[in-house]
Each structure stands twice: as structure tokens, then as C-alpha cells.
């Protein structure tokens, strides 16, 4: 295996384009290192993208944030501006693994690892985040929910790199949240994860909402029918019941060592209600 740590995006792209055999991008490495140890990946080349400055930057333009793909959980957690605007996204990234993992795991890595149970993806989906991708043929924008296509699989080509993730500007009365269910209090993979972002009017009525749902399907899902249950309501009990039902209906989980179909379907609804409440409280302020 060859290891390369290019300093520029162009150099990284040409390494990927010129690779013979399998080339993989190394961001935080918290998944790839485990796969290397367990002998479940054997790439011919690893391209470490952490030294590329555009991938590290966090910028804001008129309330719209762009976060570099290799921003770690620890770094994002220290950025007060992002935390204020997108607390749910920060929560999603910060919930991954331990303090130690937080020092390494990146927002782009968690997205591109494409785990069905990834914590940041439902939050990104809810936030309507756009992924900025570059490849040999230039750049393109891809909605966060369109990056993963199945467990460990993305819609990206081998020679494409996620440079950053952009978040739209939004009104003052907006809030987002991410909650997951795990058996312990830390260190576990989500059994269910729900990200919700919403905006309310002056009367506290929800005008816009997006709901992302993780760990209950082959990939994280955008659930518009769940969002629809919130719009036009003040998240009263009836709306919350409808939300839970819509979420449970969207679940198509499996039985595995982390949870049963029945449990995941039930708890997804519970988590959705709790997440919505937090997002709403943040929006109302």
C-alpha cells in the first residue's frame, strides 16, 4: 500500500486519477484504520487529504456556512458560530465515538463512510446541506441525502473528493437537533438516529421542516412525510403522534446485534418526538 499526503486539491485529484488499483481517501481514518486492522480493506493507495487547506476551512457568508470536509468533531465543537446556527449538526458529529475519536473523525468522513447508522448524516439531511464535490471534470453539488446509496457505498466516483459541505442561510426563528438511541451513554453505534431542522413563524407555527432518519434502513433517509406532519402545527401532542407514526412507517430496519426491527421502529418514533421538541424550542428561542 502506498500512502500519499498531498498539500493541494489538484495534487490529490491527480493522485486519485492516476491510481492503479484501489485508491481510498483517508480523512480522520477512524473507520479505515479499523478496516485495515480487521483486514476488511486492502487498498493499493491511501490519499490523506488532511493537509489540504481548502478542506479545513470554515467560512460564513451572509449566514450561509461552508464547512471543510476534514473538519473534526472537536474542531466543529469549538466553533461557536456554527454551534449557534446548526447545533444539531454539531451534536451529530460530536456524538461519534470517544473524545479521542472526536480529535480525528471528520464531517466529510462520516458522510462518505456511508454507514446507515452514521450520526452526522441525518443531521445534514435535515439541515438541507449541500456537498461540494470535485473531480477530474470539475466540481458539482450533491445533496447530502444523495451521497450514501447503501451500506458503505456512495454515489461518488473513486476519483472524486468531497471538499466541503454548505449550509443555507435561514431565518432567525429556526432550529435543528439530532438525537440518537444507544444502549449506553457513549461509544455505541446509533440504534436509531433522528435529525430535524425546522423554522417557525412569529406565532410559533412551523413553516418549514426537514427530517433525516438514520440506522433504520440501508442508508440514512430524508423523510418528507414526517416533515409534513409538523408544518402548520405548533408541535402539539397530536402533531407529535403523527410525526412518530410517520417516522415508524418510514423505518425498514433489520434485526441485528444492536437492535430488533420492532425496537428500532418503536424507538424511532420516540426519538423523533424528542428531537422535534428540542429543535422547536431552539427555533422559538
Amino acid at each position: 500500500m502506498q500512502y500519499e499526503a498531498p498539500q493541494t486539491l489538484d495534487a490529490a485529484l491527480s493522485l486519485l486519477a492516476g491510481a492503479t488499483g484501489q485508491a481510498r481517501i483517508l480523512a480522520g481514518g477512524t473507520d479505515i484504520m479499523v478496516q485495515l486492522h480487521m483486514d476488511t480493506t486492502d487498498p493499493d493507495m491511501l490519499v490523506d487529504i488532511k493537509n489540504i487547506s481548502e478542506l479545513r476551512a470554515i467560512t460564513e457568508t451572509d449566514g450561509a456556512f461552508t464547512i471543510g470536509a476534514v473538519t473534526t468533531g472537536a474542531e466543529l465543537g469549538e466553533n461557536e458560530a456554527v454551534k449557534k446556527m446548526w447545533p444539531g449538526v454539531v451534536e451529530g458529529l460530536e456524538l461519534i465515538g470517544s473524545t479521542q475519536v472526536q480529535g480525528r473523525a471528520t464531517i466529510g468522513g462520516n458522510l462518505c463512510n456511508a454507514s446507515p447508522a452514521a450520526d452526522v448524516i441525518p443531521a445534514l439531511i435535515a439541515a438541507n446541506a449541500i456537498t461540494n464535490v470535485v473531480g477530474p471534470n470539475g466540481s458539482r453539488e450533491v445533496a447530502a441525502e444523495d451521497i450514501p446509496v447503501g451500506p458503505g457505498k456512495t454515489s461518488l466516483a473513486q476519483d472524486e473528493i468531497v471538499v466541503s459541505i454548505s449550509f443555507p442561510a435561514r431565518g432567525a426563528r429556526a432550529g435543528d437537533a439530532y438525537l440518537r438511541f444507544i444502549p449506553r451513554t457513549e461509544m455505541d453505534i446509533a440504534v436509531v438516529g433522528v435529525g430535524i431542522s425546522l423554522e417557525v413563524d412569529e406565532a410559533g407555527v412551523c413553516t418549514q421542516a426537514r427530517v433525516g432518519l438514520g440506522a433504520v434502513a440501508e442508508k440514512a433517509l430524508l423523510v418528507p412525510e414526517a416533515a409534513a406532519t409538523l408544518i402548520g402545527t405548533s408541535l402539539d401532542d397530536a402533531a407529535m403522534e403523527k410525526l412518530a407514526a410517520a417516522i415508524s412507517a418510514a423505518c425498514r430496519p433489520i434485526n441485528d446485534r444492536r437492535g430488533t426491527i420492532e425496537f428500532r421502529t418503536d424507538v424511532a418514533g420516540v426519538m423523533a418526538r424528542r428531537t422535534a421538541k428540542i429543535a422547536y424550542d431552539r427555533a422559538v428561542g
Partner: protein
């Protein structure tokens, strides 16, 4: 598999070594640099026994490639005491009997030190969550948490 040349700093000492690209920083520390204080409990980032600080960030050395040490500054358990003077955390761990078998201790100490440098006055809950990635099977964590809290107090008073 061609080895790569790496220059790095560990506990303020400069090291040069040749590294297999797949080797982890933990492998390098233990097998190349003979710094066996960092322990391998899982090699998958789940136990924290290999915790080190790299350029100011607490990381699991099993989740970092050895070649990524190039140009970095690493702090391990071996650099924690100042000559014969133990770090307050080390002394508090002894005073509190915060270790039984001692295999998790280096990782816990490195992680706790990183916490106190960032947050000199943590609550018990903050200590518990910061150390959630450091598994200890012997102590039930009680004496570890007390030792960290008391070390924080001692360091604030100093």
C-alpha cells in the same frame, strides 16, 4: 511494501524511523520507539488504552497511521512525569488507588491530562463523559473520577 521515512517528535525528543505505510502509530511507538507505555487493548479505537496527544489533540494512537506522525509532536505517558516528580494526576491516582491492574492507566492519565488542560474545573459529569472512551474493567471508575477531580483541584490551587 516500501517503507516510508518519517521524522517526528515524541515527548520533545526527535525520532526518525522507517515505517510500513499500514502500521499504526501505536505499532510504531511500541515496536519502533520502544515506548510500550501506550497499550493495545483493542486496536479499533474502542478502549482508549493507547491514548496519546498529537499536536494538542487527544487521539487513539491505534487509529492514526505511523506515517501520519511526520512533522507532528506527540505526547505519551512516558513524557508525563517531570524527572522524578510525578504529574499531580499520577500522584492522585496512586493516592486514591485509582488503578488495580494498571493496563488502562496510561491511557486514562493521558486523556485526563488533556481534559484538565482544556478545562481546569470540570464537573464530575464532564470528567465521566470525557473519559467515556477509556475502558477500565477493574475499578468501576469511582476512584479514577475522584482522582481526576482532586488532581484538578490541586492543579487549580497551584
Amino acid at each position: 511494501m516500501a517503507k516510508q521515512h518519517v521524522t517526528t517528535t515524541v515527548n520533545n525528543d526527535e525520532f526518525e524511523f522507517l515505517c510500513e505505510p499500514k502500521a499504526s502509530m501505536l505499532d510504531v511507538l511500541r515496536d519502533e520507539l520502544n515506548l510500550t507505555g501506550s497499550k493495545e487493548g483493542c486496536a479499533t479505537g474502542d478502549c482508549g488504552a493507547c491514548s496519546v496527544v498529537m499536536d494538542g489533540r487527544l487521539v487513539c494512537s491505534c487509529l492514526v497511521l505511523g506515517v501520519e506522525m511526520e512533522g507532528k509532536s506527540i505526547e505519551t505517558i512516558e513524557g508525563m512525569a517531570d524527572g522524578e516528580k510525578l504529574h499531580p494526576l499520577q500522584q492522585q491516582f496512586l493516592d486514591h488507588a485509582a488503578l488495580q491492574c494498571g493496563i488502562c492507566t496510561p491511557g486514562v492519565l493521558v486523556a485526563a491530562k488533556a481534559l484538565l488542560e482544556k478545562n481546569p474545573d470540570p464537573t464530575e459529569t464532564e470528567v465521566r463523559y470525557w473519559l467515556a472512551g477509556n475502558l477500565c474493567r477493574c475499578t468501576g471508575y469511582d476512584k479514577i473520577i475522584r482522582a481526576v477531580m482532586d488532581a484538578a483541584k490541586e492543579m487549580r490551587a497551584a
